[in-house]
Amino acid sequence: MIPFTYERATSPAGAAAAAAKPGAKLIAGGTNLLDLMKLQIETPTHLVDISRLPLDQITETAGGGLRIGALVRNSDLAADPRIRSRYAVLSRALLAGASAQLRNKATTGGNLLQRTRCSYFYDTTKPCNKRQPGSGCAALAGLNRNNAVLGGSDHCIATNPSDMAVAMRVLDAEIEVIDGIGRTRRIPVAEFHRLPGWTPEIETSLKRGEMITAVTLPPPPPGVQLYRKVRDRASYAFALVSVAAIVELRDGRIRSARLAFGGLGTRPWRHEAAEARLAGAAPGAASYEAAAGVLLAEARGHGGNDFKIPLARRTLLAVLGQATIA
């Protein structure tokens, strides 16, 4: 770690103002930031500790949803009875991520802001456009087994590793942010994470000097909620492919389906056209294959990660099969 100075924030707007200064960064749980600071991949010269701000409550919204404070721990969010009963896909996704120790520290806002990353982002001896813009991407022709098959560019194919964010996407969450003079705005989760394009170092639409204060969930959509994660070991590993699904059946047909994916894309992936392909369809392999075909039409492997394309198809078929068992 390079040296830094430390301050403890006393208000959300004050924290946002302090974080707007050159070299400053917010720290909450710190599980991703400190990991990267030890490797000098992140090099803040000033840390603004927001971990004691009063943003750790989950409250009901007037519209029938829930407002989750940015500092609610991943473990507490997964265990909350309202999340477990009404937003099971979110609880399941959180429990599929990281380890119990990390979930006890990691926060809702911090989880959304963890870096989109691959092994070359961590390897400071190799080029990485995200770590060092313009240096090149070692993953494109390198070891890319874990990299993205959707949403990549010629500059970056790193995956966003968050399970939580995949569930947030399928639930159409909104992210509340505040700036240094107390102005607030809401960002739909669909617009929060960015595609890498030419600027993979810019991962979110959060502006410098803005801080996440809460994530709001709309009322739960009708239907069964599932989260399926496929990975190299049974626990504590990033997804090779994960599927969040909310499927509503009516009169023997699929009334609506929402699908989001982890491990496949350079950001938490949602595919409305694949969902539309399922709406009104009869449950069955033919419908599921058609939806998978839409989802993966533009998927592009880079050698090591080619297997993710058929794996995504099979995982989606399995999840839809499970969701539509009467």
Binding site: D35, T45, D49, S91, S99, A100
Partner: protein, 213 residues
């Protein structure tokens, strides 16, 4: 809970090394390994008070000091181990305000005024914690390097299960999860044992948790 096993009065080689490291960190520039000369000087040490195993400990620390390094290098509580130092192995697991965390991935300064329990605080030769005794009884280790992390993690895990917190393998999110072997293995996945003593670790935890196999 007691402070530690008499470290202040029995200078061992480890204690002398630890004290030297602590002094160096305070007096010298405190640059990390591999740091380059062009970097700014180390920031001014900041006051930090932690309640460790029931004893208030006040220190002056470089803000960069992890909770793990604080325990080992500044408080000579070397029961907490450094494995990967990146939150992947669980060897540094301690209980912060009763909840298990990786001490390597947090800064001591962030926990000013908070309560910490380490393996030394759970019990010692004069009186083992039931989890420590169960690990001994079931031979829940081989080399022992991961053991303090396993034990602290297991104590935190039992509290989580007791509180009804679900896990990835909990079949029904509406139920109070049962403490089965599958549940224990999933809940302990943040603690790696490279000797692969897992069957005995699980047996020890089942016994301490009141659900012997």
């Amino acid at each position: 809970m007691k402070e530690s096993d008499g470290w202040d009065f029995q200078p061992t080689r480890r204690a002398v090394l630890g004290a030297g490291t602590a002094a160096a960190a305070l007096l010298a520039t405190g640059l990390p390994q591999g740091a380059e000369a062009a970097e700014p000087e180390a920031p001014t040490p900041v006051p930090v008070t932690l309640e460790v195993n029931g004893v208030s400990r006040s220190l002056m620390l470089d803000p960069r000091t992890s909770l793990l390094d604080t325990l080992r290098d500044h408080l000579a509580l070397t029961g907490t181990k450094k494995g990967c130092d990146h939150g992947q192995c669980g060897a540094c697991t301690v209980l912060l305000e009763g909840r298990r965390i990786n001490a390597c991935l947090t800064l001591a300064v962030m926990h000013d005024g908070q309560k910490l329990t380490t393996i030394e605080g759970l019990g010692g030769p004069q009186g083992l914690h039931s989890m420590q005794a169960a690990f001994v009884e079931h031979d829940g280790f081989q080399c022992g390097y991961c053991t303090s992390g396993q034990i602290c993690s297991a104590v935190g895990m039992l509290a989580e299960a007791e509180a009804g917190m679900p896990s990835y393998v909990t079949a029904n999110l509406a139920e109070h999860p049962p403490l089965t072997e599958v549940e224990i293995r999933e809940r302990m996945s943040g603690n790696i044992c490279r000797c692969a003593a897992y069957p005995n670790i699980v047996a020890a935890i089942r016994q301490a948790g009141g659900t012997p196999a």
